[in-house]
Symmetry: none
């Protein structure tokens, strides 16, 4: 490691990523995302704009990262104000973040056009802002907006912005390809020019994917001597997105061209979590993960049966450029019955179910898992449902109660006062020890009403589920249009603090929800069964 | 044009693209895809493997392209057989395609391992196959499988494969990065080595996206002297996909680095159809288009941030590297919490609503957008709902019909045969011109039933919504637990091909769905109103 050069990774998912069409982070989202990305083991996590909106103000009230340097983002001082009298700059300086990434335009045309100030005022702002941050004991970075277009139009001015930041003591000067239109050779050529006045150890790259080159441009800048890459998880970001850190990290760690020359903070252990982290983020965004994503996609190591399959069986490297396990992903071609069974046994052990590898029921269970996953179930995220499926197949599931039928109705109408109201009501019939019990309940929606009705009277089981609580409810439509299938995932919790996840799948959203509810209660009953 | 070098484009959507997980082309699909891709105006369209399966046999009974050279794909002659006695080779030669792309392994290790033959036999097969194709008056190409890994392991053998093809008279020798693991600098270095024995005018590149470099690697090969690029529409393909022609074509035509040096067959007119062709292909695959796709994505020219929008209004090039119209796409300024009045005015203009910046109603609209977004609406993904909100606020929304009430019920019970079934039924009451209309419908879920009932009888409006179709339905639970709010986003389409997005938000999922349905119909009525 000693002889390798250090490369720094900077995540801007919560700032530039928040510019993605369709993405809007709440405070809770931001806290969860920061925690998740911090597991990547990278150097910086940029959290947003303190002072710009209530969510970010709250978010910056405390340091939100354990491993990465928590970084605030904002504009350099406004021209015509002093450092002390610029409320935007003061919000940055007074936030809890130990680092500030300032943004300033590095193209004189844009400075005049968009800011309406003189290019010299902009240079003074850069310098004063960085000095103010350093005086407040913050690490400071400068994002040079429009750098590459600016350099092509007026290289002297673009370089003057860089010099102003270097002289003021900025830790990093980051060259932004703001409209994403620059190609790798031009990136390489211009970075090489900038290095003549700013050492590569202070130079970073911020690339966008408008020509499909965000990753290639980031590496082109490294090839030319820059030592800091900004990107986002799963490549989210304005327009076509930012450089995807989930692609760049494995390339830096696994490809000899980079791994032999550079050291980065993420290690093998972080890397082995990459697929999980990438998918957890999509879950948080409530979107389907991109199956074709490099390294982490569900299809990234999938081979369809055909001429490739037999070569693959003889030598996995034929069609795999890296080992899927290295990034926490898995080969999706013809998982040998044997390998599948080993995974199964490990998962069962987690639920205190021990089965011999030779047990023929394992084949049946494996078949059923695959058959159900093909229909839309996904046991990765629904461990409790997996445990119930396994117990059922292995004859280890006690019989608790039967649901004979349920009915729910939702009505929207005007009430006596002429206001529009919506009422949800549910009726559930269950049979326990031969006795039929019928319960009715209202709720703020059909699922809530069904949940209340189902739990209202479970006879002798009622006491055992008293502390069960639904924490979260997620819905995903699996294929659009008329053949759509709905997958519902429910997160539950009880007094012990344990959380569990159950799943339901159906063309009917209410059906799918009820299945997941029913599974949650059953899991709680298994959990509390006297053994 | 005369002084530009010619670059050739080769589409393998119907062959390598058919290896995509989840993609399976029927004969009708293949005919439709070939017709669609032929509109790109490129040089070659590879249709599949004649002789390998009934669909491809039928497909190759006639020439399926008008502009491109229709190309068959298959293995070189099997070792141990003569040209005449190899049924695979004979199927290629007897197909209607005027060109054949042969595939042969260019890595001696793979030749021995996967084919179980001697490396010399493989060279003889290459040579004999190409000569046989030429004798049958076909243009012939050779795909060198595993070329880059093969070259690194044994450059002499990899180059011997290329030489065998050149000497036999192949029009193109295509270097395949089969497992997608090679990075741009290595591509460039190795292509430069190959050019020493094979002129660039005969050399092609076939790249995969396993490190996110399929496009960059294709251009790296061109930079090194190759003159033929293989790719697929929208980058479909095995694992992470192939080089995306919908990204490469506009880069070659619009970026000076390439447009000044190279001539390709697609022209400005083809280019202006690119977005339509790309989205029509996703329609055909029955999947949602990637909003962040370079050039053609719905978000590729979308700006969300208020500070960007005002700069954008002053100079579109600030955040646009090319003009969206050039690729048949359009600028989209999104309305969201981060928006200011500039965004609003631009967004309104897109809906043919022009308002002065000084109009006081704009403040009211902006306030309402922000207030509703705070409650869970998100207009940047629901443009049609934004247009309706704006028209309502600006008194530009005609009154169509009132929904007096609706009711939906979902029942799960055993039918007469003892099977568990779920029934969904909905009743909707609407008032049109004072007249009450009541409709009832069933559906495979409550939303489908409500949609059917709502659209069943809208009196004088029925004809205007006849071609309205729901394409996708997305559900997001905004905050977990008991205070959960549900956001429903519906994507609709009509006969004109236009797609629009509407939103509904409520504590009750059915309520939220109904709101989004109602908005979709209202948008369609606005769209078809006589002005």
């Amino acid at each position: 490691m000693a002889d390798k050069e250090r490369l720094y990774l900077f995540d801007t998912t919560l700032r530039d990523g928040a510019q993605t069409v369709g993405v809007e982070f709440s405070l809770d989202d931001k806290i969860a995302v920061a925690k998740l990305i911090d597991q990547l083991g990278i150097d910086y996590i940029e959290g947003g704009f303190p002072g710009a909106n209530p969510v970010d103000n709250k978010f910056f009230e405390q340091n939100r990262t354990k491993n990465a340097i928590f970084t605030a983002f904002g504009m350099t001082k406004r021209a015509g104000r002093s450092v002390e009298n610029d409320p935007g700059l003061q919000s940055l300086i007074s936030s809890s973040a130990p680092a500030i990434c300032f943004v300033a335009k590095a193209w004189d045309h844009q400075v005049k056009l968009a800011l309406g100030i003189e290019p010299e005022e902009n240079l003074a702002s850069i310098s004063q802002s960085i000095r103010a941050a350093i005086a407040a004991d913050k690490q400071s970075l400068l994002d040079c907006e429009h750098f590459f277009d600016g350099f092509k139009a007026n290289p002297e001015y673009a370089l003057a912005c860089v010099s102003a930041a270097v002289e003021a003591g900025a830790r990093w000067i980051v060259l932004c390809d703001t409209n994403g239109g620059t190609l790798p050779r031009e990136i390489e050529r211009i970075v090489a020019e900038v290095i003549k006045i700013c050492p590569g150890e202070k130079l970073g790259i911020h690339a966008h994917d408008d020509t499909g080159h965000a990753v290639a441009n980031s590496l082109a800048a490294i090839n030319a001597g820059a030592r800091h890459i900004q990107g986002t998880l799963n490549g989210i970001g304005e327009r076509c997105g930012n450089a995807n850190l989930a692609t760049i990290i494995p390339t830096l760690l696994l490809k000899e061209e980079y791994s032999s020359r550079f050291a980065i903070t993420p290690d093998e252990k972080n890397l082995s979590q990459l697929t999980r982290i990438s998918r957890a983020f999509d879950d948080l965004l409530n979107r389907a993960p991109d199956r074709q994503a490099p390294y982490v996609g569900a299809a990234a190591f999938a081979t369809k049966a055909g001429i490739h399959a037999s070569a693959q069986a003889k030598d996995p490297a034929s069609y795999e450029h890296v080992a899927p396990e290295a990034v926490g992903n898995q080969r999706a071609i013809m998982v040998s019955q044997q390998a599948g069974k080993s995974n199964l046994i490990i998962a069962l052990k987690r639920h205190n179910i021990s089965v011999e590898k030779s047990d023929p029921r394992l084949d049946g269970l494996l078949r059923q898992v695959k058959e159900r996953e093909a229909r839309g179930y996904s046991y990765d995220g629904a461990d409790a449902s997996f445990a119930l499926l396994a117990r059922r197949k292995l004859d280890m599931l006690p019989h608790f109660f039967d649901v004979e039928s349920f009915r729910t109705s939702i009505e929207r109408r005007h009430n006596a006062k002429g206001e529009l109201i919506t009422m949800s009501e549910a009726v559930v019939k269950v049979r326990i020890d031969g006795e039929l019990r019928m319960s009715v309940a209202e709720g703020n929606g059909p699922v809530n009403a069904l949940d209340s009705a189902l739990r209202k009277d479970l006879g002798k089981y009622s006491g055992r589920i008293a502390d069960l609580e639904l924490v979260d409810f997620k819905v995903r439509i699996l294929n659009g249009g008329t053949g759509a299938i709905t997958r519902v995932l429910i997160e539950s919790r009880d007094g012990s603090g344990e959380r569990w996840y159950t799943i339901g799948v159906s063309a009917n959203i209410i059906d799918a929800s009820f299945e997941a509810l029913h599974e949650s209660i059953t899991y709680k009953l298994v959990k509390t069964a006297k053994t």
